[in-house]
């Protein structure tokens, strides 16, 4: 009897948290689907802010934000995708190669180099932004893709995660390969990298969220629309008064949808990557 009561109470609490988590997201979807801006403003003051009746659904806001020539949304999404994919894909090879060398190759100063990488983890990007901006300004990289890609490829935390994984791989595996005449490069490429798929997933998820969501850096290095990422474009669209809420929310949905879909597909990987980042 008591047990039954407790489980009902737990379920109720869980549903309450579910509502708190989902309500703001519902508001975004519902508002984006309402064609009448006046109605949106009236709804904001009631529970209808979180809901749209099927009969009232309109795709007008989506049509508007997708056809806005001054703020080409598809271009922004494309920019963010190019930047994120480049950083993550190149980053996986570069960072895992550093980690492999640190864990497997014998050379002078290896321990020192490892210590340097570990201590670099703590430097926040925010503390480097201004001098980095000055450097990028000097080489004329402002308003480009590379200014948003190249500085973020080397990622000490990813190197650290790969390093931890490689040190746990049994040495016998590489020894067997070396006996057969493999080069260190072949061991890395043919053996270590394919085995590190779980770390690759963790690193890819953490780094892509970081890049897709970045805001301070694009704010400093992009002026025009050519290389502007979608997060900054939404911020500027939102910051231009008066906000047209239907359009702003349609913009938000289109920015969130790619990430939400990837999340739905790889839910377990996302949650596991958060856990992997924490357990050191």
């Amino acid at each position: 009897m008591n047990n039954g009561f407790a489980s009902v109470a737990r379920l109720t609490l869980a549903v309450f948290i579910l509502v708190v988590v989902l309500a703001p997201i519902m508001l975004m979807f519902a508002t984006s689907l309402k064609g009448d801006e006046q109605q949106i403003l009236i709804d904001f003051g009631t529970w209808r802010a979180f809901w749209v009746f099927p009969g009232d659904i309109s795709l007008e806001n989506y049509r508007q934000v997708l056809s806005d020539v001054q703020a080409p949304l598809l271009r922004f999404l494309f920019n963010s995708a190019v930047i994120t994919v480049s950083v993550v894909v190149v980053g996986i090879f570069v960072n895992s190669a550093v980690a492999f060398s640190l864990s497997r190759l014998e050379f002078k100063g290896r321990g020192l180099l490892l210590a340097v990488f570990v201590s670099l983890i703590i430097i926040p990007m925010e503390a480097l932004a201004v001098p980095l901006l000055l450097m990028m300004n000097r080489v004329g990289w402002l308003d480009t893709y590379q200014v948003q890609i190249v500085p973020f490829i080397a990622h000490p935390f990813s190197i650290f995660l790969f390093y931890q994984f490689f040190t746990k791989l049994p040495r016998d595996l590489d020894d067997a390969a070396y006996v057969e005449g493999a080069s260190p490069w072949q061991v890395y490429w043919g053996l270590a990298l394919p085995l590190s798929l779980p770390v690759i997933a963790t690193v890819a998820i953490l780094q892509s969220l970081e890049i897709w969501n970045s805001y301070l850096w694009p704010l400093m290095v992009t002026r025009g629309v050519e290389a502007r990422p979608v997060s900054l474009a939404l911020a500027q669209f939102f910051g231009t008064p008066p906000p047209i809420w239907g359009d702003v929310m349609a913009f938000s949905v289109l920015m969130s949808l790619p990430v939400l879909l990837v999340y739905l597909g790889f839910q377990r990987w996302f949650i596991q990557s958060a856990v992997n980042a924490a357990i050191k």
Binding site: L18, P124, A129, V130, L133, L134
Partner: protein, 282 residues
């Protein structure tokens, strides 16, 4: 490993060294021919430490961290324990609860701007609870509520990350400890106090340090929703770096701010690690 080391040297080590170097100069973003760049000794640091707006920003950022760490941590632990109990459909709940963390802070700020409107959800709620006696409050432009509002939306976005980490910690606790507590007739509060909470020590250390570092970087929400206002009540250190270094082009001064910011984060993390891991030996 060549490319990785080279990229690290160029884009992490160089700007780091450069920020220390520049902090002793009056370097500007756009060179001004009338003011040649020169060494000015510790003058930038004297100005940083002598300006009330720096101490205000540091105080605000510290307040944000001091509040969000326990609030977000408590919510995360509570929700993790709920999921870890015999909750039906726990994988579904866990999957949905995680969603805010994959949402971009820009989108989160936009949505919460609506909830904080003068005719928005929070004011309607306040009106309902107080039978129309209180409110409406302009949450984001009111000096006493602006920071609290930012904390609320940040906790909503951030708690799921800590939740899954706590969940992993909870699942690693030896079930025999719970059996022993049951045999001794512990109440659920006693079990939490003497078994669950202390068993999560390593998780607490990670969560406290990681959330503190994240909290010190507070910028996006502030830049979008309050611009540091009202009357500087939500000004943060990163916002100050952005304003001085980028908007006003004072690279030398902003570099000094960056160095002080980095040292603050470093010292606090070291202190936290020292205090939290030393308690273990007590």
């Amino acid at each position: 490993m060549g490319p990785g080391v080279l990229l690290t040297l160029l884009f992490i080590v160089t700007p780091f060294v450069l920020s220390i170097f520049l902090s002793f100069t009056n370097q500007r973003l756009v060179p001004n021919l009338n003011i040649p760049t020169e060494f000015i000794g510790f003058r930038n640091y004297e100005r940083v430490l002598g300006r009330p707006d720096f101490w205000n920003a540091l105080g605000n950022t510290g307040l944000f961290v001091a509040l969000i760490v326990p609030i977000q941590g408590a919510i995360a632990l509570g929700v993790a324990m709920l999921i870890n109990s015999k909750l039906p459909m726990r994988n579904l709940f866990r999957g949905v609860f995680f969603i805010p963390t994959v949402m971009t802070m820009v989108v989160v700020s936009v949505i919460w701007a609506v909830l904080f409107r003068i005719d928005g959800f929070f004011n309607q709620f306040l009106d309902l609870l107080s039978f129309g006696m209180l409110g409406p409050v302009d949450w984001l432009t009111n000096e006493t509520t602006a920071m609290g509002s930012l904390i609320l939306l940040s906790a909503w976005q951030g708690f799921p990350f800590q939740m899954v980490i706590y969940l992993a910690g909870l699942q690693a606790i030896n079930p025999e400890l719970y059996e022993a507590a049951k045999v001794e007739g512990s109440t659920s509060w006693q079990t939490f106090r003497h078994v669950t909470f202390p068993s999560l020590r390593n998780t607490h250390v990670f969560i406290v340090i990681a959330t503190t570092i994240l909290g010190f970087k507070l910028f996006t929400q502030v830049n979008l929703l309050t611009q540091g206002g009202p009357q500087g009540a939500t000004e943060t250190v990163v916002q100050l770096i952005y304003q001085n270094g980028f908007q006003q082009g004072k690279v030398g001064f902003a570099s000094a701010l960056s160095v002080v910011f980095f040292l603050t984060v470093l010292l606090i993390s070291i202190a936290q690690r020292y205090i939290l891991t030393n308690e273990e030996t007590k």
